[in-house]
Each structure stands twice: as structure tokens, then as C-alpha cells.
């Protein structure tokens, strides 16, 4: 049970939040080609190291926020609370 530092609620157990994965950038759906769109939908860098990811504070403030987490160690960058 890792500790996720919610910018509002402070350090919280990860079970209180929902992980939303690697941060993605949504292309303009009006102009995006199907291939660009599917790259956004499906392809992921999936690094073993630092990744910027989104979390949703489901049991707390109900805010989406991003953190930087090292997927090889679960260390969270610049967080002194976890």
C-alpha cells in the first residue's frame, strides 16, 4: 500500500485513490488521423523508471492530479510524505 501525496488531502493510502496511468495528450478529435488517435488510445512508453501519471483522489477531494513516480522503485519524486 503505497502512499500517494494528494496535493489537497496530503499523504493518503493508494487504495483511497484510483490510478489513471501514464499522462496522455488528447489530440484534436476534429483533425486527428485515426492512427494518431489510436496512438493516444493505446500506445504507452511504459518505462521502468520515472513516469508522470494521473491519480484520482476518489475517497478524498475528488480531484485529478499528476505525480512523478518511479515504476522501478515506487519512489515518488519530491515527496517527503511517502
Amino acid at each position: 500500500m503505497i502512499v500517494v501525496p494528494c496535493p489537497n488531502c496530503g499523504p493518503r493510502n493508494s487504495s483511497d485513490l484510483r490510478p489513471c496511468g501514464e499522462i496522455t495528450s488528447r489530440p484534436d478529435p476534429a483533425t486527428a488521423s485515426l492512427s494518431e488517435w489510436r496512438t493516444y488510445l493505446y500506445l504507452r512508453e511504459n518505462p521502468a523508471g520515472w513516469v508522470t501519471e494521473t491519480w484520482y483522489c476518489r475517497s478524498g477531494c475528488r480531484r485529478y492530479f499528476t505525480i512523478e513516480r518511479n515504476t522501478a522503485t515506487n519512489e515518488i519524486r519530491d515527496s517527503e510524505v511517502s
Partner: protein, 200 residues
């Protein structure tokens, strides 16, 4: 045609809580779990800088008791919940300055509310809630949301007469379950459950 049309529905006396069991108390009085659903609850969403946000006067995580007896809780960023006597819901809602991007919603019927109080209140809660309830992390007046027995709840530490006390509110439909789960947590401290009340 029917003989009578029950037009009368008294807001106060006809109000039904989802919690049907009475207060559960430890034999030595060290903890009690009581239904306080019959409370007016109004949620205010107000962007920073609006008059409403300024008037409410407390930040996220804090609470204060207004002179008129209304409890104002900073439930989330840019979100407040106001509690008062059941009859005051309309008045509470009307008291908010809605200039700017502000919404006011009466959630009296949408939330069940339970008070856990007594010297062992924190001991009971720490069986079902993973948040650190020590005095420095969660002092009197602290407002937070957390999972309690796997239900997302809004919590307020609201001590009475120097005795720890927590007000816990959840989505109404979970009310009966949550009350049973909290009552069950009291059994370690000597509470006896009323017949039929249990989590299994």
C-alpha cells in the same frame, strides 16, 4: 376515486432515516454510535474569490461553528457543507450569496449521518478507517474524506465537552450498512449489538 389523499407530509416528523437501529453504546460508555441523519445538510460549491467563498470563511480541511448554530465545514477545495437543524435546510441554502460561479444544493436527503463519540471513538474508527486520527494529524474541527468500512465518507472531528466525537456522513443508501459496520467495531469495547444488526 380514493377516499383520502395524503397531502400532508411534515418535513420534520415524516423524515425517515435509512438507519433503523437505535444508538449503540458500550457498556462502560466509552463509545457510542448514534444516527444523526435528521440534520439539514447543504452543499455549497463556490469558486475562489466569490462572495460565498469569502463569507463561508473556512478553508478545506477546517470547520467552524457559526453563532447561529450552523456548522460550516470545508469539505473539499471550493466546496463546503453546512449542517444545522433539520428545519433549517431552506434557510441555509437561501443564506448563500450566489453571485458568480456558485451552486447551492440541499443534500439533506442524500446523506446519512452518524456520530461516533466517546473516549474510545478513535479506537473504533481506526478499525475501519486508515486515516491517522492522532490529535496533531486530525485535531478537533478537522474535516476530511476517507473510506470507512469501504464506503467513502465525509468526516468531521467535532469534540463535545472535551470528549472525542466524529460526525461521519455517507451516501444515503449506504447508511444502514455503515451504521452496522461502526456498531460492529464497537463490540471490542463492550457494545452489544441489537438483534439483526451485523455486517454479515
Amino acid at each position: 376515486m380514493p377516499t383520502s389523499i395524503p397531502r400532508g407530509c411534515d418535513r420534520m416528523s415524516d423524515f425517515k432515516s435509512p438507519i433503523t437501529a437505535g444508538t449503540v453504546t458500550a457498556a462502560d460508555g466509552s463509545v457510542a454510535v448514534a444516527d444523526e441523519t435528521a440534520t439539514a445538510k447543504v452543499v455549497v460549491r463556490a469558486a475562489a474569490g466569490t462572495a460565498a467563498a469569502t463569507d463561508l470563511g473556512v478553508g478545506f480541511g477546517e470547520s467552524r461553528l457559526r453563532a447561529d448554530g450552523t456548522l460550516v465545514c470545508g469539505t473539499r477545495p471550493e466546496e463546503w457543507t453546512l449542517f444545522a437543524g433539520l428545519e433549517r435546510a431552506g434557510e441555509l441554502a437561501a443564506s448563500i450569496d450566489t453571485t458568480g460561479f456558485v451552486s447551492v444544493l440541499d443534500i439533506t436527503h442524500g446523506r446519512a449521518m452518524i456520530r461516533v463519540s466517546g473516549p474510545k471513538a478513535a479506537k473504533v474508527l481506526e478499525k475501519v478507517c486508515n486515516v491517522d486520527l492522532s490529535d496533531d494529524m486530525t485535531p478537533d474541527g478537522a474535516v476530511f474524506s476517507a473510506s470507512v468500512a469501504k464506503v467513502t465518507c465525509d468526516l468531521l472531528r467535532s469534540d463535545r465537552d472535551g470528549e472525542p466525537s466524529y460526525l461521519i456522513s455517507c451516501e444515503r443508501s449506504f447508511g444502514g450498512y455503515l451504521h452496522a459496520a461502526l456498531a460492529d467495531a464497537c463490540t471490542e469495547f463492550g457494545a452489544t449489538l441489537p438483534a439483526g444488526l451485523g455486517i454479515h
